[in-house]
């Protein structure tokens, strides 16, 4: 594996780019591992990297039914922020943002983390009150978030329509300046490359069909399309398919899987400086470095594994976007797609141990887990290595649905996040 540097770029440019080495080898499964991670999304690959780097556990395989990063990691609109209401969430997401800031240097891979600011628009009195409550709560937790007046929103994001007779009047907004975006694929690739360099096997195109347990109930390994693989510990990080995988181990989860869609426009010159989220009208927008507008939509009303999603949602989102940003109403959209997101009743993740010894789960990130990638991966690795949760993920237990100790971001936001 070549280390990327200005020097290696110049040298390879001068030799016609013929000598770059592969970024990770094509691995075949061994008979046994210390840890098997199911799902090679950003979370699973990142956990493998931190297991190797922070805990010295390198006899690890990350197994994916498709290609790495081909799940929600490669399908999301890449919004990164940490201004969540509750203390537990603020700590978890802010931990992730701390790691995002130095991730490119750490991985020697440009994940293009861009602190361009995320502005959430308030369109009604409820939004104003709820955003201000978030701002106060965030400040108490040391998370940056501040209130902008209508005019300040316009100054921050010039394409915004703030006319008082707009269909969705802008009554102000909450701005997190430390928030922004990152290149989704690069996050998966960067973690994969860094994990593989430390000896982790990444096994693609190999569905895990069941989790096998020992007679004493503890985890024995995983059944896969390439045969049985023995494992001392198994961590499931399979996003929308988590229920299916965990069912095979006899663990039933409080999850429902829904399609969530996004779309991109044709690329245009740089015209959109930040990320804007409008929860009330379900529209999220930013501009990629290639110039495409990246637009996020809502979830379908019904559960599904179809990775498609219905057209009425796209229509609704585009109608909202062209109202809030009239300059885009002649823009042509290039393509749309869907990913399957795993939603919990309180809209917070489940990250920790399960009733099965040696089996760990990281799921329930729903519509908003890309931003958490480095943080979730970091504390998942800790939990697996030490067989106990890191203080940051300790509240995010599966048990909370029995005890009632919910982390109710659903009630706090009342919309997708």
């Amino acid at each position: 594996m070549t280390r990327f540097s200005a020097f290696s770029l110049v040298r390879n440019a001068l030799t016609g780019h013929k000598h770059w080495t592969e970024q990770w080898p094509e691995s075949q499964p061994r008979a046994e591992y210390d840890v098997v991670i199911v799902g090679a999304g950003g979370h699973g690959l990142g956990a493998a990297y931190y297991l190797a780097r922070e805990h010295g556990i390198t006899n690890v395989a990350v197994i994916d039914k498709g290609w790495l990063g081909g799940g929600n990691t490669g399908r999301n609109t890449t919004i990164i922020r940490s201004n969540y209401l509750y203390d537990e969430s603020a700590r978890l997401f802010d931990h992730a943002v701390d790691l995002w800031e130095n991730l490119s240097q750490e991985l020697n891979y440009n994940v293009m983390y861009s602190r361009r600011g995320v502005l959430m628009l308030a369109h009604n009195v409820h939004d104003v009150q709820s955003f201000k409550r978030h701002i106060h709560s965030n400040r108490l937790n040391g998370v940056d978030n501040r209130w902008l007046t209508t005019q300040e929103c316009k100054d921050y994001c010039p394409p915004l329509n703030i006319s008082p007779d707009a269909r969705y009047p802008v009554m102000g907004g909450a701005l997190q300046e430390r928030a922004g975006t990152a290149r989704h694929d690069a996050v998966a690739w960067g973690y994969a490359r860094a994990a593989a360099a430390r000896g982790v096997d990444i096994i693609q195109n190999c569905p895990v069909t069941a989790i096998r347990r020992n007679p004493d109930g503890s985890v024995a390994g995983v059944e896969t399309a390439k045969g049985f693989i023995k494992a001392k510990k198994v961590a499931v990080s399979a996003a929308g398919n988590t229920s299916v995988v965990m069912d095979s181990a006899g663990v039933r989860l409080p999850l429902e899987s829904y399609p969530l869609q996004a779309l991109v426009s044709e690329p245009v010159k740089s015209c959109f400086p930040c990320v804007v989220m409008s929860n009330a009208v379900h529209a999220y927008i930013s501009q990629s470095d290639k110039g495409e507008l990246v637009i996020g939509s809502g979830t379908d009303q019904y559960t599904s594994y179809s990775q498609r999603g219905g057209l009425p949602l796209i229509e609704h989102t585009i109608a909202a976007i062209t109202e809030v940003f009239p300059i885009f109403n002649r823009m042509r959209m290039l393509r749309k797609w869907g990913g399957i997101v795993d939603v919990t009743p309180d809209r917070s993740a489940i990250l920790g141990k399960t009733p099965v010894k040696g089996l760990y789960v990281n799921c329930g990130w729903g519509t908003g887990g890309f931003k958490a990638t480095p943080g979730a991966a970091h504390v998942l690795a800790w939990t697996v290595a030490k067989d106990e949760p890191h203080p940051i993920n300790a509240p995010f237990t599966l048990d909370r649905f029995r005890t009632g100790r919910l982390i109710d971001e659903a009630a706090a936001a009342a919309v997708a996040h």
Binding site: S243, L253, Q301
Partner: protein, 103 residues
Amino acid sequence: MLLIHCPYCNETLPEAEFTYAGEAHIVRPPDPSALSDDEWEGFLFIRSNVRGPHYERWRHMHGCGRFFNAVRDTVSDRFLTTYPAGQPRPDLASLTAASEPSK
């Protein structure tokens, strides 16, 4: 957009007329105060979330307004059947044999 058959109106209509109402056949506890925490968790939060034929509730919101049940394959999104609320679960084997859902 899905096309959904309302068993009361006996018409197949666009999804926009309907609202989804979650998994079907989850029976309310007859004696709630007798429930343990585990049982409450199961009733309130645990869902089958199956990949394949799913028993679910829909409401014909902008039509007759009534709730009914459906079996839909969550991989193809194809409806295998719809039936009035209160009727027992239709047998899966007969449904899948009849309509051969695509996987």
